[in-house]
Every structure is written in structure tokens, then in C-alpha cells.
Amino acid sequence: MIWKRYQNELIVLFSIVLLLSGLLYKNKQNADSVENRTVTKSAVREFKQIIAHKKQWADKSIAKKLDKLKSVVPASKLTWHKKAKTLNAQFKGLNSQELNKVVTTILNLAIQIQGLEVKENHSSYDVEFKCKW
């Protein structure tokens, strides 16, 4: 029956225990949350980066976009071999303007350049270009 004698103190003690439990719970949740958020945020960042890279370098419409190259120069100057996911193109007798256009178009396409060769031939240029995607 000693508890009855000190029941007021016990009530306060119980509420202090409750308060401390609340404080510990909050601190633990906070620490867990900070850790979780850091881990999860980095995972989200990684995810987004992978998705962005995939969108850029595995673009399904790139084969169509690559056809732009055909319109940059007259068909007579171009030999075009597109097979599966590779392209082998040869441009002959390009003036410097056409050369610039071809190179700029190539640089702006998200393709993997396997080979690019430019040779000057009597003030005109011959270009050989190989790529995959």
C-alpha cells in the first residue's frame, strides 16, 4: 500500500516517463528520418540520372532523327548504309559550309561516334562517318 501513500509522486513520475519516452521516440524518428531521407534522396537522384541518361542515349526515335543528315547535303554527295543500330555514311566533295552543317548535326545527335574522318581534297572535303545508338 506504499504506492497509495506516494500516488501523487507516482503520477508525476509516470508522466515524466511518458515525456522521456516521447522525447526518445521523437529523437529516434528524427535520426531515422534524416538517415532515410539522405539514403532515399541519393537513390532518387541516382534513379533520375539513370532515367535521364537512358532517355538521352537510348532514344528510340534517334534512327529517325539521324535521317536529318541526309537533308543537309545533296543526295549525290552521300552514300548511306543504315543497318540495325549502326550507320556508315560517306560524304564526298563537301564545301566548307556543308562540312560545318554535317559536323554540327552529328554533334547534336545523341549517338555514339565510332569513327569520323575528314579529308581535304582539292578545296573540298570528304567525310566518312560511323556511329551506333
Partner: protein, 310 residues
């Protein structure tokens, strides 16, 4: 253990009672020896109003040097005021072997007014009986011979009573304890809610990941994800490098400089510039070195060759 006041033994105490040896918690019924009663017909609506004026109702009736507490309640149309000295009651109970912690609740005989309509013996000489709606102490000799005498039992227990424990031996009063406990509990609640909200925030980010996983199920495996990431990282890095190199080399064409030949594969590149004179080729070489090309050669006077790994 009995939690309900009515289930506990009700002990009627009196001044010259024998010493008690209790093994459990009891409720105590106090006869008029332990309190002063006043009954008044007042135009009051609430008990708190009556309690406020309770002390004034006993002016001149109580001992000056003692501290009194008051119980107030409504009995039919009249307000009943009971003044009692809790310290005196506690000291009396202690003297009779009843410890404060053995007392469940204290009741006043007046509260069980109707139960005392038939007399109850109070020790060897006295009895308690209700006369004109007041429980009074009368000598047993004053009772009629044929009068039925009843014994006090739990059925006499009134609905409300006083709690004695908190006033004694305790370092904190009940009010202080309740105030502190409430304050701490409120803080505890705030902490729990805050903690719950932290947990909830993490759930939001996890939901974002789940959404991405649903959209791209191929990325669910960590190994696949790592391998895809590495593959595209390499492509992204090398392809950007190729483009940067081509742009830088193209930027080096100025007046008097022409590209003679250029070749790039997946690992290396080579460019040959034809310059108009040796002065231009020297300047071109300087520019190339400034731009970070390390392998810059001059072939004959006017041809500059750069050949490097990507």
C-alpha cells in the same frame, strides 16, 4: 483489490472506539463528532458558488486556530455545508491504528441521511439517527425500547466522498501532481506527434521511389540498376569528351589556318592543320597548348599536327 468505493468495507468511527487492526483498505463514515453542519435555503444554482461562501456560513461556529475544509452539496431544496478539520480526522484515525493509506474514502453521516432513519449504534452508549433531516448523535437510552437497531454496512456508502491520501505524507499536493502530470503529458504528446511526422516525411520520399520503380520496373534490381548506370555513365562521359574535343579543335581554326585532315575513333583523335606561314603555325601551337593539348607537333614549317588519346 477493490476499485469501486461501494465494494469496500464501510467503517463507522467514533471517538472512544477501540484500536483497529486493518488488513485492507476501508471507507470511513464520520459521525457528527467530526464535523459541523449547516443547512440553508439559499438562492444558489451551482455548487462552486456555494463552496465560495461556505466559510462565511460558519462564522463564530468554528475554532479559530484550526484549518477547516468544506463540503457542499444540495439536499432537496436546501444547501448543506459541512465543515471539517482534515488534520484532526487524520490524526484521530492514526491514533486508532488506521493509517492514511488504508483509507479509501471519507464520508459524512449526513450524506447517508436516509440510511440513518433507523438508528445505528455508535459504541456502547450512543447511537446515530436522523431527526428532522439531520443525522444526530443521541444516547442509546433515548431510543425507544421497541426500536429496531440496524448495523452499518456498504449500502450506507454515499456516492461521493473525500480522498485523504494526498494531503499527508506526500511531497506534492494532488493539484500540483495533476498540473505537472498534465504539463508533462502535453509535452509527451507533442513529442510523439512530432516523431510521427518525421516518420511520415520519410514515407513521402519512399513513395516517390516506389512511383519511379512502378514506371521503370527494369530498375527494380539494384545490380541491374548499377550495371545500367555504369553503362550510360561511360557512354555519356566518352561521347561528351568527343564532342568537346571536336568543338575545341574547330574553335582553333582562324585566319590562315585550314584543316588538312581529321580522324577520330573511339579511343584516339588526330588533326592536321595547314597554316599560311610559320608565324601562324607558331601561334596555333601556342593556342593548342593553352587549350590543354599536350601532343602538338610541327611537321615542316606550316603543318601542325595534334594526335592524342581521348
Amino acid at each position: 483489490m477493490n476499485f469501486l468505493a461501494k465494494n469496500k468495507i464501510l467503517l463507522l468511527v467514533y471517538r472512544n472506539m477501540p484500536r483497529q487492526d486493518l488488513s485492507e483498505i476501508v471507507n470511513i463514515m464520520l459521525p457528527p463528532q467530526f464535523y459541523t453542519l449547516k443547512k440553508e435555503d439559499l438562492p444558489l444554482k451551482y455548487a462552486y458558488q456555494a463552496k465560495k461562501i461556505a466559510a462565511s456560513r460558519f462564522d463564530g461556529l468554528l475554532e479559530h486556530n484550526a484549518a477547516y475544509d468544506y463540503m457542499v452539496y444540495k439536499e432537496d431544496d436546501a444547501w448543506v455545508f459541512i465543515a471539517y478539520n482534515i488534520e484532526e480526522i487524520a490524526a484521530f484515525l492514526q491514533s486508532k491504528g488506521i493509517n492514511v493509506e488504508q483509507v479509501g474514502k471519507l464520508f459524512f453521516a449526513q450524506q447517508a441521511l436516509h440510511s440513518f432513519e433507523t438508528p445505528v449504534l455508535l459504541g456502547e452508549k450512543d447511537a446515530l439517527i436522523t431527526i428532522e433531516d439531520v443525522v444526530v448523535n443521541v444516547p442509546q437510552g433515548a431510543l425507544k425500547e421497541e426500536e429496531i437497531i440496524q448495523k452499518i454496512d456498504e449500502s450506507f456508502t454515499p456516492k461521493t466522498g473525500l480522498t485523504l491520501n494526498s494531503s499527508f505524507h506526500s511531497y506534492l499536493s494532488q493539484k500540483q501532481a495533476i498540473a505537472l502530470a498534465t504539463l508533462f503529458s502535453v509535452f509527451a504528446l507533442v513529442f510523439f506527434v512530432e516523431g510521427w511526422r518525421y516518420g511520415d516525411k520519410s514515407a513521402g520520399i519512399k513513395a516517390e521511389i516506389n512511383l519511379l520503380l512502378e514506371e521503370y520496373p527494369s530498375l527494380q534490381s539494384q545490380y541491374t540498376r548499377k550495371s545500367i548506370a555504369e553503362k550510360y555513365e561511360t557512354i555519356n562521359r566518352t561521347e561528351r569528351r568527343k564532342r568537346d574535343v571536336i568543338k575545341t579543335l574547330a574553335g582553333m581554326i582562324f585566319k590562315g589556318v585550314k584543316v588538312d585532315a581529321f580522324k577520330m575513333d573511339e579511343k584516339t583523335f588526330m588533326i592536321r592543320y595547314r597554316c599560311s606561314d610559320a608565324k601562324v603555325s607558331k601561334h596555333l601551337k601556342e593556342v593548342a597548348k593553352k587549350l590543354g593539348f599536350t601532343s602538338v607537333k610541327t611537321i615542316t614549317g606550316n603543318i601542325v599536327l595534334i594526335e592524342e588519346k581521348l
